[in-house]
Symmetry: C2
Subunit: 188 residues, 2 copies
DNA sequence: GTTAGCATGTAAGGAGTTACATGATTTT
DNA sequence: AAAATCATGTAACTCCTTACATGCTAAC
């Protein structure tokens, strides 16, 4: 069985290894504590994913340089091909790819991304939420059920709120990106 | 192969057929327009699910009573066993079962549920959200990354809002539920 | 008379999960 | 010495999707 594709997980692993090399167990910990605000990954998916990424040459493995009595752990590190692959994935971000799960992972990479990529992801997410909102509104009283209507109302409100949040982030991003006034910005 | 379990989809189908018998195509339409506010199902999952439910005896199929030139559609209807199965599933609702996906489906059944079941589901969802909130707060500044912190802040705010929404629904439910003496459970 | 939508399916695959198996190391 | 947790995996399964196959029927 070749080629497990592991979309979200693969992206998350690429993102984490972009920061620093790490071994499997540590990866899972960071996956579930930092990225995994909205979801948790198990070893049963992580290790096969690493195996496949190795096979594709996106990561390489090295025995940990350890002291004396310690068994060396298997440390994974992003290869050049892995860097390219990550950039390729980010270059392909579309609204369709900005579902709840993926957006969290994309967002987690923001610290390392360039401003134009950040903006594209924020806009992609915004577009997607707008579609959802339209859908939610397109059947206003089709259902007689009060509970369903209330659920939909609350859903629409949440989506609106997230759109508003994105608008603020986008505005902030644009202010710090377009350096009209001579303002020495912060980090790149 | 046997026994596809199809949790969410099965639950949704049981719920829809609880209301009224329907054929596959119509089921999918209602799934995606009413329940599927948050997700869409495809025929490739629906029809095998129906097949399996048939095999288990939870639904039965009948050729539609049609007029003249019309080809009769295959109409599915909940059996006694199906009713029991649905009640069993609802009786087993725990906080763990109240994830984003399932909660929407549970909620969609509220119109047919008794008040105590509604309350149990609302509380189950609330408990689950509280756990998530605690998790979100348990690592406040563990990350130096501003973006991740902002993502988490917004996530926590959304969760708080939903909890508040649930609190209102619960209060409303309790007001309308038991101001009068305890009545022996009549079916809803 | 051809597109669009109704209607019912199957086969293969995707992206994970749970449960299992095993052993090393650290903490109590 | 026992329990916890670190660490690395595999096998079987789940639940759903996409793509495919097929034919009917209504609308333009």
């Amino acid at each position: 069985m070749g080629a497990r594709r592991t979309r979200v997980l693969e992206l998350a692993v690429l993102g984490l290894l972009y920061e620093t090399p790490l071994h499997g167990y540590g990866l899972r910990k960071r996956l579930n504590s930092e990225l995994g605000v909205f979801r948790a990954f198990s070893y049963g998916s992580l290790y096969p994913c690493l195996k496949e990424m190795l096979r594709q040459g996106h990561i390489s493995q090295h025995p940990e340089e350890t002291g004396f009595g310690r068994r060396p752990r298997i440390v994974y590190r992003l290869t050049e091909a892995g860097h390219e692959h990550l950039h390729g994935m980010l270059a392909d971000v579309t609204p369709a790819a900005c579902d709840d799960e993926c957006f969290g992972v994309y967002f987690a990479l923001f610290g390392h991304a360039r401003s134009d990529l950040r903006l594209r992801i924020l806009h992609g997410r915004r577009d997607r939420l707008l579609s959802r909102l339209e859908e939610l509104r397109s059947r206003p009283s089709h259902t007689a059920d009060d509970y369903l209507r209330e659920l939909r109302r609350h859903g629409a409100e949440s989506v609106e709120r997230e759109i508003h949040w994105l608008d603020e982030l986008i505005a902030r991003e644009q202010r710090s990106a377009a350096p009209s006034p001579p303002q020495p910005g912060s980090p790149g």
